[in-house]
Amino acid sequence: MKGTDNRLGKGLSAKAKRLGFQNAVEREPSERNSKYVKGTDKRTLCSALEKNKDAFANVFQLREYWRDDELHAALKGNCVELCFADYANARDPAKALNKGRSFARKLVKKRIDYRLTSGATDEYALRSPRDLVAFGILLGLTREQSIRALRPLGDAE
């Protein structure tokens, strides 16, 4: 199984490739000129998304991201990150996964593009493509949807 991990910490792409990824993108949230959008303030994030179509957005830190219709409307035309590390390191992973499941269902229903990433900041947090597909299935995606969610950013379906 091959695919792309679209967000990793610096210096981890070689190890990610050894775990089975065809490609891995080292991308820091603070990186300038990047279209990566993440934050805790809904208004700022929504305006960034409206301005910047084709952004790669992580909405995990927003309150009620899984049932916010206004946010879902702003996400149209952008790509959403479903990051393994966010869910694994959550205070209550069971609750986080439940919210993630509702969110993933909305993404599929509203045809919003999404990618599964490891979000690894060190070697321990690196995941293999198989792990990310199993994570997608855990979020209620089908195997095919999970595998498609490992393609590089900007790849049309």
Binding site: L19, G20, F84, A88, P93, E123, Y124, A125, L126, R127, S128, R130, D131, V133, A134, F135, I137, L138
Partner: protein, 96 residues
């Protein structure tokens, strides 16, 4: 009597000794899937032919892979368990 089908997973473990691997797998699966889920998954970790593998029930491999992926600590130390390959037989798993 019909024999239950199994799946074999090849695991890449970080900072985990082979001797502690079966216990770590057992703990990960029980914690993530609970007693009922663990009984269905029938996951068993072992070190064989120089590699770490997990044998589990066919159809339950995604749950077991997720359980292993969510395991980040064992006996107070950070660990990582990553699934590299899945196969129906041990020979095929190691052949690839």
């Amino acid at each position: 009597m019909m024999r239950d089908k199994s799946r074999w997973l090849l695991i890449d473990a970080l900072d985990l000794e082979a001797a502690a691997f079966p216990e770590c797998v057992d703990e990960a699966v029980r914690r993530f899937l609970g007693v009922s889920g663990a009984s269905k998954a029938r996951a068993r970790g072992e070190a064989t032919r120089g590699v770490l593998v997990v044998k589990c029930a066919s159809g339950q491999e995604d749950e077991v892979i997720a359980a292993l992926a969510f395991k980040s600590e064992f006996k107070g130390k950070r660990v990582a368990l990553r699934t590299l390959r899945v196969s129906g037989t041990l020979d095929a798993l190691l052949e690839k």
